[in-house]
């Protein structure tokens, strides 16, 4: 794996490094995780502290986090942020080291000895379970797995959800659930022009799913999906949207008093509720409100879901003693992602699932004191919600805090902090990634797709 070119690049890096140590006060920062928070933090630090030197380490051989492995394949425009990230990566003071995992290949303590600043940006990549009966029955899956499967996340290529039934129930109503619904309902000839993985395309082309429920515990006024995503569902070819009239009792009267974003999305729902359906459409999208799953039922495979019927009290869902059962052959829970602590020395709140911090400054364990030089940005610090824009603002804000701390002498440059020596790791550099990128694009073009993702880590490494 350590090719000659690889070593040369590292030699060049070391030379660069030695010239850079001469720059007085050149902050050395290590950013952990290459999703939007990692890249936007790098961008901001490099712009406002042009002398600083950044090493970005990433667990996977390839960059971009959820932009590559979360954002839906039929939303290529969202992935345009990759162009900005790539520009940052071309900065001579920036190194990408893929295939290095914090907590496995390198410990946080090691990083802290090697850098003036460490910014944890490793996101949230674990499921949140519901903790109810029957969750381990076959074909009760998580959105994280399903999304990872169609987007080519390594190790999920054999996930193979069973799509042979006609009905699917999605638990949760966020944009991720909408993504899953859309992928299940979109005509295959549209998906075939995206960078969706070959195996997922093949499985979806055989899918029998015709009805997709989107179940939320609260009402239409609390719906978590955003309006652009809803509008897209309403325009989906071959699919009609069916709302439940009873879910909307008293809602039209409230529209005028709502703030603009909530008002517009509610208007859109009510308009769609009253619209005539096209009988020629053979697929159905069925949002259902005021229901919480209480158990999954099935023997070899899930057969139905029991829901409590909820009412709202102070905006919260409260279960009544009434229940409803819906038949299904696939359940996908989409109630959010969760972060984990990847290194024992991280001050982590297991309950909240995030690193304990005050405005991005990580606090010491069992103390209210700031752990100087350690920061957290993105979903790992805020919790797993918000779009790329939200993450970007958070990363900018925390980078600004780092710069403030630096200018105020709270964090100092230590010339003994030399950064990791990439020669000690089988890591992937930016040049290596560009090779993988080229190979993926070429493979894609052969089959009229923008990209055919390489899923096996072994194969990625063999290309570089």
């Amino acid at each position: 794996m350590l090719s000659r070119k690889f070593l040369t690049k590292n030699l060049i890096n070391s030379c660069l490094f030695s010239t850079n140590t001469v720059v007085k006060n050149a902050l050395r920062a290590c950013i952990v995780g290459s999703g939007p928070s990692g890249f936007y933090s790098s961008q901001y630090l490099l712009k406002h502290l042009p002398d600083c030197r950044i090493d970005l380490i990433e667990k996977l051989p390839v960059p971009f986090g959820l932009v590559r492995y979360g954002v839906a394949p039929d939303h290529p425009e969202v992935k345009n942020v990759i162009n900005t990230f790539s520009k940052t990566a071309e900065n001579p003071n920036f190194n990408f080291y893929g295939n290095i995992s914090l907590g496995k290949d390198v410990s946080l303590n090691e990083l802290r000895q090697l850098y003036d600043v460490v910014v944890l940006c490793y996101g949230s990549d674990v499921d949140s379970p519901l903790g109810i009966k029957g969750e381990d029955i076959k074909n009760v899956i998580s959105a994280r797995e399903f999304v990872g499967w169609y987007n080519g996340l390594p190790h999920l290529e054999n996930f193979n959800p069973d799509l042979s039934g006609e009905e699917a129930i999605l638990i949760g109503q966020g944009n991720v659930a909408i993504d899953v619904a859309r992928i299940l309902l979109t005509p295959i000839d549209i998906l075939s022009k995206t960078d969706i993985t070959e195996y997922a395309l093949e499985a979806l082309s055989r899918s029998k799913i015709k009805k997709v429920y989107l179940v939320g515990r609260r009402g239409p006024l609390q719906a978590a999906f955003t309006i652009a995503e809803l509008r897209e569902m309403l325009k989906l070819p071959n699919t009609d949207t069916y709302w439940r009239q009873t879910d909307f009792e008293g809602i039209p009267e409230k529209i005028d008093s709502l703030p603009r974003p909530r008002k517009r999305i509610t208007e859109l729902m009510v308009k769609s509720l009253n619209e005539a359906k096209q009988s020629s459409n053979n697929k159905k999208f069925l949002p259902v409100f005021f229901r919480s799953p209480t158990q999954f039922i099935g023997n070899d495979k899930v057969e139905s879901v029991e829901f409590s019927i909820n009412i709202l009290e102070n905006e919260s869902a409260v279960a009544t003693d009434k229940s409803e059962s819906l038949q299904t052959q696939l359940v996908c829970r989409s109630i959010g992602y969760k972060s984990i602590s990847v290194d024992a020395s991280i001050n982590f709140d297991d309950k909240l699932g995030r690193v304990i911090n005050k405005e991005g400054r990580v606090l010491k364990k069992n103390s209210n004191e700031v752990d100087v030089g350690l920061y957290v940005a993105g979903w790992l610090g805020t919790g797993p919600s918000g779009v790329i824009l939200t993450t970007m603002n958070n990363a900018f804000k925390i980078s600004h805090t780092i710069i403030d701390d630096f200018r105020n002498g709270i964090i100092k440059c230590d010339t003994n902090k030399t950064g990791i020596d990439p020669r000690n790791y089988p890591c992937i550099t930016w040049t290596d990634w560009l090779k993988i990128d080229k190979e993926e694009t070429e493979r894609g073009h052969k089959v009229n797709k923008p990209r055919e993702k390489i899923v096996s880590i072994k194969e990625m490494l063999s290309i570089v």
Partner: protein
């Protein structure tokens, strides 16, 4: 699949492609502007901290084009490159200028604006506003993103 099939989005995308392919992209693609018009229009961007940046664009350019072509570095501006999927190109107009804008916002633009920080009654997305001759001297506010407000 393009999430939003909106003529202005397509305009922007084709403009980007043209920008990449040719050195001098002069022909305007904005539908409401006559062909081969090259007049320059001056626009002033006012940051939240009061800083004023005046730049020139050609008739038919979008306000995002003006920012990009003049290398104006507003952090994070135009993340989705004019494809109506991000709202980072949010700009605030003075009421009279807002009322004069020839194209009213599409549903898709309003959908994205709904996610913008500091949304106002006279907010628009810069990638959806094409310059016309009578916009010369236009002033727009760049809303306070977190960093602007503090620096």
């Amino acid at each position: 699949m393009l999430r939003i099939i909106n003529s202005r989005v397509i305009n922007n995308i084709s403009k980007q492609i043209i920008r990449q392919m040719t050195v001098q992209p002069t022909r305007s693609l904005c539908s409401n502007v006559p062909k081969l018009q090259k007049e320059e229009v001056e626009v002033t961007f006012v940051r939240a901290n009061g800083e004023r940046i005046t730049a020139k664009g050609k008739v038919g350019d979008s306000l995002l084009d003006v920012v990009v072509n003049n290398h104006i570095d507003f952090d994070g501006f135009g993340a989705c490159e004019g494809t109506l999927t991000c709202s980072t190109c949010h700009l605030i107009f003075a009421k009279p200028d807002f009322d004069k804008l020839p194209d009213k916002p599409s549903d898709e633009e309003l959908d994205m604006l709904d996610l913008a920080f500091d949304l106002t009654e006279t907010s628009r997305l810069g990638c959806q506003i094409c310059l016309s001759k009578d916009m010369n001297g236009l002033e727009v506010k760049v809303p306070a993103t977190v960093n602007d407000a503090r620096s």
